[in-house]
């Protein structure tokens, strides 16, 4: 099942499928390890604000708009 990062449930893990954004967004995300093929885990969601994800060993906060461009295939538990 593929969802965008902002709609993923908290605690779920998945593999990034694609970035539905322009070149700038793609490169910025890639530099933080959010690129097609990468494993990520959604660890939190702040009210009205950013989404927290774990990529490898780092934690990254992504604004809601940008998170809606990241398509993730959720790995069932």
């Amino acid at each position: 099942m593929s969802v965008t990062l902002d709609r993923m449930t908290k605690g779920a893990k998945g593999k990034v499928v694609s970035i539905a954004g322009g070149r700038g967004a793609t490169l910025k995300l890639a530099a933080q390890g959010i690129a097609p093929g990468m494993l990520i885990e959604k660890v939190g969601h702040l009210r009205g604000g950013p989404i927290l994800v774990k990529v490898g060993r780092s934690q990254v906060a992504i604004g809601k708009g940008l998170a809606s461009k990241v398509v993730v295939r959720v790995i069932p538990e």
Partner: protein, 571 residues
């Protein structure tokens, strides 16, 4: 002389390595921006002297901010690169490494923060990593100095593997393969620190932690500032400096003009440091005796929060709220810096991506974020009447900051760039670099503020002696007395406030105003024209048209809010 570049992600200890290698003391900081102005020093490889440059931290060679653009530009000027890599977060760090390896510059890798890997259950096969990347890899611990000699010796073996340019996906695939081969992670229990890391970014707990941390920070700033004044500065000024000034005063007895300019007016037969208004009395006491202690306290605490790694968390927590002001969470960092001094705050807006955002943040800072000097004077003036009046002025400024942000968001075109930041792990601050950064900021304050305060006091006294001030006061009195309800002499405070806000506010002291007038005066002065140093930087950062717009907004806001306060305050 060969030029060696230190290149790496933010927060990997690059600046600590730099200061250890060169002995030059620079800033280490947990957020990109303070090292936009890069640092340069020299060191030895064997007997050969080399130049070492600390390149601003960057996550990739495709720049997304001004700071990262600088980093990329500087690459072409180096002979050898030391790529500083965080061993506890190898995978993310290797993204920049793979890009560097596509360049035609010899490279070695410093695998820094090596001791932490053991606590975090990480094992890295250094030899294999070096083989796979085709360059020397040296484990280091910058803080203890471990591995730095070996790192310098390895420079002779620096290589250029000349990887073919790859796409984003290919790069990450390759990194995945490397990590799979060289890194093993053992399970380990969450440490107390890691639990606190999670709590401080929790959707509910995070806000509680933020309130506690900010509250504690300001309490400590007040405690340090007040203690410095009570136990060190006031005794020096009263017991040492006062007798010295009185003796000078006696010698000047026959020359009343000179006495007025240097010592000022006597209050009850003696010198009053706050009200006498002479070059040597008030001109020296305000910057050193009243403002410096709080500047010291503020920069020390801010440096601590920076180095621990708390500020990015605050930016994330406040992202939703800041969107209402047309900004994203990151802009809270320059705004916080503004509470120390508006000048570095405006410079720090460079890390923001869009022009619109820079304009909004810069305008808000110069109108509604009072610098430490201004705050010290507001507290000094209003606290004797009760802390609730100080709180009132702060609340007014905070409401203006919010309201004006909301209005500017509606009337400026553009979108709010998306937030994307790393949340670094908490690290114990490294005292040596923390103190050096703090020393630089405090000395910067002294060398910038003291001369301007003295010049400002001098200008006031000369104007006063020539009767110019009376003319100006007469001319502007309708605005000042009717709209703001202040005595007409208060206009001088507004004019001098352009030189420095703290003397401007200080000039309100001898006017015998009521509490209400003081509140209106302090709030209006805080919002009115920025001091001249801020003005110059504003102009440089925004250009003519946007500065003119910011100034127009400033004047309208100050008069509107000041007039409104005069009309509605009831005490």
């Amino acid at each position: 002389m060969k030029r060696i570049l230190l290149v790496g992600n933010p927060n990997v200890g690059k600046s600590v390595i730099f200061s250890k290698l060169t002995g030059v003391n620079v800033c280490v900081s947990n957020y990109p921006g303070t090292t936009v102005e890069f640092c340069r020093g020299s060191s030895f490889v064997g007997k050969e002297e080399v130049e070492i440059i600390d390149v601003p931290g960057s996550y990739s060679l495709e720049p997304t901010s001004k700071a990262e653009e600088v980093a990329v530009e500087m690459l072409s000027e180096g002979d050898v690169i030391i790529n500083v890599v965080d061993a506890t977060n190898l995978e993310r760090n290797l993204y920049l490494t793979t890009q560097l390896l596509e360049r035609n510059i010899p490279l070695v890798i410093a695998l820094n923060i090596w001791d932490e890997t053991k606590h975090r259950g990480i094992e890295i096969n250094v030899k294999r990593l070096s083989e796979l990347l085709g360059v020397p890899v040296v484990p280091t611990n910058a803080r203890s100095g471990y591995g730095l000699d070996r790192l310098m010796r390895s420079l002779r073996d620096a290589r250029t593997p000349n990887l073919p340019p790859a796409s984003v996906d290919e790069r990450w695939r390759r990194i995945g393969e490397i990590i799979g081969e060289v890194q093993r992670i053992r399970h380990h229990h969450h440490t107390l620190l890691e639990r606190f890391e999670d709590a401080s970014i929790h959707p509910v707990g995070g806000y509680i932690v933020a309130v506690l941390i900010i509250g504690a920070t300001f309490a400590v700033i007040r405690l340090i500032g007040e203690s410095l004044i009570a136990y060190i500065l006031d005794p020096i000024f009263n017991n040492v400096y006062m007798p010295f000034l009185l003796r000078i005063g006696e010698k000047l007895a026959g020359y009343s003009l000179l006495h007025d300019i240097l010592i000022g007016k006597l209050v009850d037969g003696t010198i009053d440091f706050k009200e006498s208004f002479g070059l040597l009395s008030t001109g020296v006491y305000v910057p050193i005796g009243m403002v410096l202690p709080y500047v010291i306290a503020f920069y020390f605490m801010l440096g601590l929060l920076e180095d621990i790694g708390y500020l990015p968390r605050l930016a994330v927590l406040l992202d939703g709220f800041m969107h209402r002001l047309g900004l994203h969470g990151y802009s809270i960092i320059p705004s916080l810096l503004g509470l120390g001094c508006n000048v570095p705050a405006l410079l720090a807006t460079r890390v923001l991506e869009s022009k619109r955002e820079r304009f909004i943040v810069a305008t808000l800072i110069s109108i509604a974020v009072p610098c430490a000097a201004l705050q010290a004077m507001i507290v000094g003036l209003l606290a004797p009447f009760g802390m609730r009046y100080v709180a009132l002025v702060y609340s007014i400024l905070f409401l203006v900051w919010m309201g004006l942000g909301g209005i500017m968001r509606l009337f400026t075109r553009g979108f709010i760039p998306a937030l994307l930041i790393e949340i670094p792990p908490y690290r114990a601050p490294y005292m040596k670099t923390l103190l050096m950064k703090f020393k630089g900021r405090a000395l910067g304050f002294l060398s910038e503020a003291v001369p301007v305060v003295i010049i400002g006091v001098g200008v006031v006294n000369v104007f006063y002696a020539l009767g110019i001030l009376d003319q100006i006061a007469k001319f502007t009195s309708p605005l000042i007395t009717r709209l703001l309800g202040l005595p007409r002499e208060a206009v001088l405070a507004v004019i001098i406030g352009f030189l420095r806000k703290d003397i401007g506010v200080g000039m309100l002291a001898p006017l015998n105003m009521t509490v209400k007038q003081l509140v209106v005066g302090c709030a209006t002065l805080a919002m009115f024209f920025p001091c001249i140093a801020t003005f110059v930087v504003l102009f440089k950062e925004l250009g003519f048209i946007h500065t003119a717009r910011a100034i127009a907004i400033m004047i309208v806001t100050a008069l509107l809010v000041g007039g409104l306060l005069n009309a509605v305050l009831w005490f």
